[in-house]
Symmetry: D2
Subunit: 296 residues, 4 copies
């Protein structure tokens, strides 16, 4: 298939590379064009504009937030105006439920099709085609796109015909990660103040009831309070919980734990700045308990 | 070794059975004596009193809470008064950090030894010798007791010489379980109200980043809102978080997520009564979102 | 002065009436025109359109939320397009900090002036010219408008040249009211369950340290759990805290108590519907404690 | 009447002085005896022991916490052992609901009578006989003691025959004060970050809906972030909320706002130490928003 790919950051570059590796023709576009060089060297076609990238059966978009996603779709040279009727926009960005719903409506009006298809996984997983892909939209559109999604991840979950539900699931998943970080932070601060090294506590957890990647990865960062450099920026993690709470507010679903997390994330941004990993959430409990930072 | 075992509830019965199976002589005692019958039939010796159960190299205690644990140790016929000098009290009950610290002091004063050795796992795990055992106390005392601990669990973690830290770890672990239940409840309520069945969401989680027993077990109960009959009573789960918060308060460790959980647990006790599983915590978010109970 | 007044609900009708009583010529407009009849009978001029109401030295707007406020200002027949250069838009609606900021910019661009001038007080206070008026905007514009603001309230506070700060103060004030309701609800539920009638507790509070109107008014409603009919709808109170949290999020100011309140407000909307007073916030603690409603 | 008074700290000294001024014979006792000198100079009788202070119709106790209160009543020379049958113990300390309940039982068993009679007000109010006194216990015992209570305060509230309810009311009142401090802190941090000086915001509040002493007093301290020296130590304020939460836990009354406050109080103790006023609670929101301390 002929595929456009817009947004070649840490995640998008890996995803586009795997589409290429799967034998598709891939038209790559990025606002700062240098990001495309590596992919072009591997056989991708450089698109000079969004319009060029949209001359395809399907176009992926993978950018950081609602604002960036909106800037891709709007205007005379945006995705909405230039994607051919019948072609599919596969939006993999972690965007709001509300924006995804509006995009779905507008593509439908224009005779285009739309899949919300956010992914779980860090850049390394994107590079290794090990993402978990969650997809929602019309079933027949999904069926046609499935080989593409399978090419970028280790498993694709189809969750029904309402696109924005896939975005809600993505936001819900990130919330679950944050809740793990908060719970680990609080409990590690307690046992630490009582004399148990955090990594001893973590080893017990991960070799018993909590043997999941999330606990290993984030537990280690929090036990060592190793929050720089940022791998997933606190600013983006905060944005995700904000989007979750907006969706929850609109749907009238109280989420007190999500609110607790969001307030602590705001505190990190206000006191530590943007240049810190989102796992810094798990470090606040140590601060609040007056435990000195071993790395300070 | 000659072992006393006091407290033959759902957990203790399995643990005592496994000590017996490992070839030890086991003196069993329970306040309501019928609970011992099954074990006696398997070769355990019935102890008519705590004093009788304490005529051993080591005595395990496994009861529900601080009050029950205190009633075992105090008085002229209690463990403290009747355990021989040099013998070891292995306390596996989930008790407070404070009580454990005081027990350690008193045993030391009396020339007895003490290990705090709480366990992770449900009754089925206790029966199958699949518990995770966390132990703290003097290293040489632990070394002698290790075969006993290995006989009741799949793994024994030694966490140092300060007994009450093992209790803090146990309470911390239960807190982590509760935080998973709360996070699952909130996120399932949201996706559910947006049209995604909770078990679809759960399947995505457990086949990707959250593939740990805790998510499978509790996620299923919460997705189905299946909280009765109680397997681990809300009353006991609430008690554990209360003990955690007491330890945190004394150590001056703010734990806002633990506080959030505790308040929601109190609400369950006040509105649903004691006869409900602690996983009902994960059902509150559905209630608060006005989602009807599928089982009502 | 010649004054337009747009939005003749419970609050606006009283405010417009007091401007009339103060001797001003008042052009009144409301989407549903019947609301103007009473004022016209008192001497107001009926404006058939927003444009007509804007043929004035200043135009007040007083509507329920951002959406309504936006609908007044936008379009070829809206306030922005039809207000004469040099005339002043006095926005008394409780709107978002962000919308107020944007309105200020756009009026400035069009050569019009803008004052954010939200008010504190219930409809009875509006009718009696007993409102507290908070105003921000250019100092000379404020000076000219001051007689108008004094005509609708018992006191006018000028808080500086940045209009949206007045909106933040209004939202902050409503948050303080909500925090009183939550604190009263929780403490009344506790003393009530211990046997002290809530109104006895309230009398002690209001005759000692908490002798402020807010405690008298809301304390009484909560003690009696008298939440219907709504005097200020839960929906609007929830909107205000949402706007506060949005401003806080943008400014990176964690407000955990505001978040707690917002989640409880969402719960009221989800479980009780919109037709309830915002003071129902103070009733949740009774529910959560399993205390039967005396009015049920 | 002949009155014993035990506990001559900042509060007790003023209270004892007013009993003396009202014409009573007052036997004064304090652990560190120098505190009695001033009162003895005014005509009080120095009691060398608790036993001596208890040779009276009624004995007041006014100490800092449960531990101190317990040390006064226990032992062969304590209040329980030495107060004559028929005499009354008037406990004005801010102690736990549970301890008050147990004291009531024990005094009853010994043929003594007991009134729980905590007070609202700072040391200056104690000195000026301007306290608000809350009293519970048998009605006839209260009637006899009423002149004493009236002598120390500006108003006495009798709340029924169950002593510990008076303690719950006292704790509830302190919780309401804390909730005001938290709400002021959060909202001041927000408006401050948007450019409004906190004292401008406070002036609007206190001259409109929030014209109560609490808002004036604590609002000023928080606006100036003036938390040292401590007038009421954070340690004591934290203890009060802990006691409130213990009573709430036992009664199964969820109090999420009280929990939020308690966690923030623990944070103050852990990071600022004990030597700070409890109003420092209102300073945390500024810290979390990254607003520099004007006094630093």
């Amino acid at each position: 298939m002929r595929i456009g790919f817009i947004g070649l950051g840490h995640m998008g570059a890996g995803m586009a590379g795997n589409l290429l590796a799967a034998g598709h023709e891939v038209l790559v576009f990025n606002r700062s064009p240098g990001k495309a060089d590596h992919l072009v060297a591997q056989g991708a076609v450089r698109a000079a504009t969004i319009r060029e990238a949209c001359q395809a059966d399907a176009v992926f978009s993978m950018v950081a937030d609602d604002q960036a996603a909106t800037s891709l779709v709007e205007g005379a040279e945006g995705i909405l105006a230039t994607l051919p009727a019948g072609a599919t926009h596969i939006s993999s960005s972690t965007i709001s439920v509300d924006l995804s719903r509006r995009l779905a409506d507008r593509h439908r009006t224009l005779g285009q099709t739309y899949l919300a298809s956010p992914v779980f996984g860090r850049p390394e997983a994107a590079a290794a085609a090990k993402l978990f892909v969650v997809c929602a939209g019309d079933a027949d559109v999904f069926e046609k796109a499935k080989p593409l999604l399978d090419a970028i991840g280790q498993h694709t979950f189809y969750v029904g015909r309402t696109p924005e539900t896939a975005n809600a699931i993505k936001l819900g998943g990130n919330f679950l990660i944050c809740s793990v970080m908060e719970a680990l932070g609080e409990s590690m601060a307690l046992v630490s103040k009582l004399g148990v090294p955090p990594d001893t506590f973590l080893e017990i957890l991960t070799s018993s009831l909590f043997d999941a990647p999330i606990y290993h990865t984030y537990g280690g960062l929090i036990a060592r309070r190793e929050f720089r450099p940022a791998r997933f920026a606190a600013r983006l993690g905060t944005k995700d919980i904000r989007l979750l709470l907006e969706a929850a507010g609109e749907a009238r679903v109280p989420m007190p734990l999500a609110s607790l997390i969001h307030d602590r994330q705001l505190r990190i941004l206000a006191t530590e700045g943007d240049d810190i990993d989102w796992s810094a959430l798990g470090g606040l409990a140590f601060q609040d308990a007056g435990i000195a930072d071993p790395r300070a």
